[in-house]
């Protein structure tokens, strides 16, 4: 929903120079993304311990020089688990975003290109899905399909789709009424050619912005579902699963929840900053 609201606002155009200049938050976000990608690619180089190796005598140790982020109930090193957790967590977020954007593309194009009846039908469907905002649609979907990492990923994708679909539909309709489409029709181009050459390329440009902004949201929502015990179960080294495990010990071992959560915050913040930056440079 954040993304939708972001799209509603159009900042009145600053000059090309300020629009293209890389800001400090954008540089920080870039550093975060590069570090996360390093953790995804080479976790073993960055993590000092095996993320799954238990060591009961070391259980529930607070952050120290030896264990930067402390240890969990079985003495596993939280820092190593967070590093190894980057890959599954980001993969879940990316998969959920892909599902959401894919569904939205299908629905948005149906509504934008399929004529009045389809537009009406898709519009009513979206209206119903909007009435179950945020995590509600995801929770209803999980109630039907059962908990687990696959269903919760699909659930997150599903609950982000209506917002994206509305943006894509609006974009298609806007391009459909533009001068270039009119010109192509006047020049006698066929419908298929107009769609392929003009409508889709121009309507799809915001999809990259949506996907960048949406990735952070998807990671947060997937983690929330895991935190609630509906995603990947512990002891997997995945951020959501670590949160779920830490929930029980919130008052005694705060580091079990704090550090995986901090990485989720970093991921979401970086994706928001980069997505907004992309939007500033592409959407006019």
């Amino acid at each position: 929903m954040t993304i939708m609201a972001n799209f509603r606002r159009r900042v009145p155009g600053p000059s090309a120079h300020t629009r293209l200049k890389v800001t400090v938050p954008e540089m920080l976000a870039g550093v975060v993304v590069l570090s996360l990608l390093a953790a995804v690619a080479f976790p073993a180089l960055l993590a000092p311990y095996n993320p799954l190796a238990i060591n009961p005598p070391d259980a529930f140790q607070g952050p120290s020089l030896e264990h930067w982020f402390g240890t969990d109930e079985s003495g596993r090193d939280i820092y190593s688990r967070v590093i190894f957790g980057a890959r599954p967590s980001l993969l879940i977020g990316a998969a959920a975003t892909a599902i959401g954007v894919g569904l939205a593309l299908a629905l948005g194009s149906l509504a934008g290109l399929g004529g009045r009846v389809l537009d009406f039908g898709v519009g009513r469907l979206l209206e119903v899905l909007f009435a179950l905002p945020g995590l509600l649609l995801a929770l209803v979907f999980i109630a039907i399909a059962g908990p687990g990492v696959v269903t919760s990923t699909v659930a997150v994708g599903l609950s982000t789709a209506p917002g994206y679909a509305r943006i894509i539909r609006g974009q298609i309709i806007q391009v459909r009424g533009s001068g270039m489409v009119e010109a192509a029709v006047v020049l006698g181009r066929g419908r298929a050619q107009v769609v392929r050459r003009h409508l889709l390329p121009n309507a799809l440009s915001p999809v990259f912005v949506i996907a960048t902004l949406g990735l952070g949201q998807a990671v947060v929502w997937a983690a929330s579902l895991s935190f609630l015990g509906l995603g990947e179960p512990p002891p997997a080294a995945e951020w959501g699963a670590m949160l779920a495990a830490g929930r029980t010990y919130l008052t005694t071992a705060w580091w079990m929840t704090f550090f995986p959560g901090l990485f989720i915050v970093f991921t979401a913040a970086a994706s928001t900053v980069l997505g907004r930056g992309l939007q500033r440079r592409t959407v006019r």
Binding site: T2, R9, P133, V140, S224
Partner: protein, 321 residues
Amino acid sequence: MTRPAGIGGRLAAAARWLLAKALGAAFVLWAVTTLIFFGIRMIPGDPAEAILGGPGSQASAEALAQVRAEYGLDQPLVVQYFAQLGRLVQGDLGNSYSLRMPVSSLLGEQLPATLTLALLSLVLAWVVALGLATWSTLSGRSASLVSSGLEIVGAAVPHFWLASVLILLFSINLGWLPPVNTGSAEGLILPVVTLALPLAGFLGQVMRESMLTATTSPFALSARARSETEGGVLFRHSLRHAAIPGIALSGWAFGSLISGAVVVETIFARPGLGRTLLNAVTLRDIPLVTGVALVSALAYVLVMALSDLAERIADPRVRGS
């Protein structure tokens, strides 16, 4: 843009508006019921078995048959579907599988707690957001920093993490507030703050942009020319402009509050619709899930209608359109 003239015309317009909203609400309720009803039937598995606790429960054939008869699961699908719609029209949401109680009375018990939490959070979020927007509009240079900071808080800080940090800070380190619900008013503070902060961050950012535009607009200039003070411009003219996008985002705010309520009620062990929903989802208690979904869908439609009304009051440009 023609406005209906006279009291009669206006009443007729109001009645039309009300009827349209009521029809829209009825449609949404029907569609949510239908989607869940057929969704659950598309998933492999025996609903009777699910009622008895899933495939692991090793329910006997007699028990299954009894449950099927009790819940009407032996009837053809179409009959079951229309029976459920018929009950829904009468306000009967069926019985919860897990708690063996009527869903409607369960919802009635849980609704006030969530409503209190959500309304208090909404009020706090608006106060903080308007305050931040006003402050950052007045203090020019640091404002852009505040703005991007707000946006990140609104978009990137998940409720569960914020709640954990607040508990850590105020309950465990400082010992000022209870970490879980004690039934006292004190116990409400942390849950309300957890729900309000991300919302305030996001609303504040949108309000700030709208307010900035308003303070530099021609009507603000003309007010200054009439020797209106900066404070006067702000309170008499710009605040209204800041409120408009906030109202327009009510649907989003509702989504944030209701998903936040699920997390917050679980962390702080508070009663409420959110925790009821989570338990129902975990146990796959479909009548209860349907009930919570219907109540919140209805609330959403209501919120949207109210925000529509509020927007008409705050923004003369949309009146009569």
